[in-house]
Symmetry: C2
Subunit: 454 residues, 2 copies
């Protein structure tokens, strides 16, 4: 079985990228990726999922050198990577590489920022490693998507571990061979099943990918060897976890065309496939005013994947609501909300929202693009209104502006750490490239004694 030296060439590139090799517009998207991630990590920090994870890992924490964003607890670097990865994903509000549905920042930024607290690095070096990590996971994702995802793998976990290993490995100065080992150790830990969607374990995936990726880099640094061909070997990652292997997606144009520049940021706190529906329902609500109370029926036509991923008819919890296009449509029409507050247990069980939810019909149509939706409202008087959403806000075609990224950050972080600290974290995150010590962002985002003293 012949394949190019994928792992070696990729490792070569990872360790060789200099700060100046990353074009300004790619660095800019990297900063937006980082700001969006930090907002999500702070915004998710008070979630019960994070509480439970902290209860479990706290007794095993090593030297508490790293911050849990939005909280007062400190943990060792590896456990902080896990926790920040969990909180950044728990509201399903994070970033998306739309070609693969990878949420790139969770595994990479969670690992890298925790490492930066223990092994200081400049903001500029930090950002280069962040972009490199995102690039690696998205390219590996491209190589195996969609077969890999269709088989049942949660690609944010399985591809994400490579991104974390690459980012941390580059940041701590691995040579090519050790980077190959780190990628091999990542390959053998690539895991995460889509069966876990709708439970706390979904958020575990980016967290564990961050932790395992960082661990892979530290093991390689310590001389713990591994396969040199972990990605492409006959029994390596791509062949074992996928029926599709397109290595050109990994190596072609490396350093010239950037997947990391294609990242997008969710305006809504749920699976990306519901976004066109929420966008359309919000617009309809604006246009209809009072008439929204006269809706008899809502008819959605979507790509089959939308119902496969988010077809929960009667969600009982906020978390399940994120996987219900029915709840999302009803909630957006009646309240206009698509933020984390739209996906609380209370909102999912609100009688008027449940009532309209039960009158939402959804039809799967393979001819409908995954990122589009057709919405038809039928009113009590029999009249109808229709809306087609070609691409939702937050997509690559209609990206959030910097101001919208900041507003999203503020909206969710304020609920957790208040307005003053939110502003400080936001300023630090946007200015990460100018920091002498990137770990400062994490410390600014921690609560407790230090934050109170400021």
């Amino acid at each position: 079985m012949t394949s190019p030296a994928v792992t070696r060439n990729l490792a070569d590139w990872i360790v060789g990228v200099r700060d100046d090799d990353v074009p300004a517009e790619v660095r800019r998207e990297g900063v937006r990726t980082f700001v969006n991630w930090a907002g999500c990590a702070v915004g998710g920090a008070s979630h019960e999922t994070v509480d439970a994870a902290l209860r479990a890992v706290d007794p095993f924490s090593g030297p508490r050198k790293a911050s849990v964003l939005g909280r007062s607890e400190r943990l060792d670097v590896l456990h902080a990577a896990l926790l920040n990865g969990i909180s950044s994903h728990v509201l399903d509000y994070d970033d998306t590489h739309l070609k693969t549905i990878i949420h790139p920042a969770g595994p990479v930024a969670s690992a890298l920022l925790a490492v930066a607290e223990a092994r200081p690095m400049s903001g500029r070096a930090f950002l280069t490693s962040l972009v490199v990590g995102v690039e690696v996971e998205c390219r590996i994702g491209n190589a195996v998507y969609p077969d890999h995802y269709d088989r049942g793998w949660h690609i944010t976990g399985t591809a994400g571990v490579f991104g974390a290993a690459a980012a941390v490995g580059r940041a701590i100065g691995l040579d090519t061979t050790r980077m190959q080992w780190a990628l091999g150790l990542a390959a053998t830990q690539a895991s995460g099943l889509r069966e876990m969607f709708g439970t706390m374990t979904k958020s575990f995936h980016p967290g564990r990918a961050a932790q395992n990726g960082a661990m892979s880099a530290f093991l390689a640094e310590a001389g713990y060897d591994s396969s040199l061909q972990g990605i492409e070997a006959p029994r390596g990652f791509a062949n074992v976890l996928s029926d599709k292997q397109d290595y050109g997606e990994i190596l072609d144009g490396l350093g010239r065309s950037w997947e990391a520049a294609l990242n997008s940021y969710k305006p809504f706190a749920c699976g990306i496939v519901i976004h066109p529906t929420i966008d359309g329902c919000q617009q309809l609500r604006e246009e209809l005013g009072e008439r929204v109370s006269e809706i008899a029926e809502v008819r959605l036509t979507t790509h089959p994947l939308v119902l496969e991923l988010t077809g929960k008819r009667t969600p009982k919890t906020g978390l399940e609501g994120k996987f219900s296009v029915y709840h999302s449509a009803s909630c957006a029409l009646l309240t206009g909300d698509g933020s984390p507050t739209a996906f609380t247990d209370e909102m999912v069980n609100r009688p008027d929202i449940m009532d309209l939810r039960d009158r939402v019909q959804a039809t799967a149509d393979p001819a409908c693009h995954e990122a589009s939706v057709d919405i038809e409202l039928v009113f009590r008087d029999g009249s109808t209104v229709a809306k087609h959403i070609e691409r939702a806000i937050g997509s690559r075609e209609k990206p959030l502006s910097d101001e919208q990224v900041s507003a999203k950050f503020t909206h969710q972080a304020e609920l957790v750490v208040g307005a003053d600290q939110t502003r400080r974290i936001l300023d630090a995150a946007w200015g990460v490239e100018d920091l002498a010590d990137a770990g400062e962002v994490a410390r600014t985002a921690a609560t407790g004694a230090r934050a109170a003293a400021e």
Copy 2:
């Protein structure tokens, strides 16, 4: 897709097994499993693989409540589970569930003993949890073997994580629902690629399975929820990681017929498929005496899997030698050795052994059983001698006696901790069921201040 409630019924059984439910002969095999594991963990403790892993994880260790067997370092429970799992496998000398080629004790005992040091349990309770963990991983392995293994998964890692979660979950008293969560968290971390064979990362698999399984149990205990059908769901473990799913292997006769009673212990420190060859070559050496120096050619006929797994023609390191049926045959004929000392860098590069190795021919014959071999020696004078090994020593048909298990333990442990401590560990391990505190075995097996004081 209908399937029985595999995860729920299995979890129900795990949490319900009482000490008395495990028949005496199964408990006895459990003790043998534990003794063999402890010997391997101590025997492997001075290996460079363990040194490298310790360098990597030591900076992240939490409260040092658990021992690394055969060493003076102490680590938190999760990292101790990782390290003991690595050392118990690094010499490829551990136990084997022959139906699946799972090495059962590595994931289960490494996790459970580390937990027992922090959360004391009686030796009797410890042994029940150990047997339950082994039973769970072997049954899950049976359900997906051989497709799962053929696809490229290192089944000791992928099935092992369930065994560790079951053993630890039972030991810490999870209820059925939380045990289902623990199995779900294990399912989503089931990983380990066969591509890693021949590198340090192979031993990482049982270690990480131990660590991840224990973590799964602790997360579930803390209320971190997961799928209730992690094993059998359409996108659960069995469907995503295998094309074969035979759930009867998991549920049928649970508690009545015991896979844990079928464990076997390697007499030789290498892949089980080479054992018939070494056994035969040792016997031939005994029979031939001086004539062994007149061998011109060695002709082996084996099952194709033997060459697939151990077909390294020119191994350069001791570790590679374990994957070379050529080296193993030559070394057994010229030195009689199949223990860890047969697989050192020095032995693999000894001129006379290399010379005969290059004159070993191996032919794959699908008609030959995996556990059999035909050996033909051709002498310089043209004469030949043939030997057929139907089943090797150490197989279920020719199991090691308790005395042979002890001798194997002593042979390898003495090289690491000396004769006195070896005797103390061996006594403690054989007597584990009578201990008020099973963790005593781990403390007895640690070196350094405490051991020196005794």
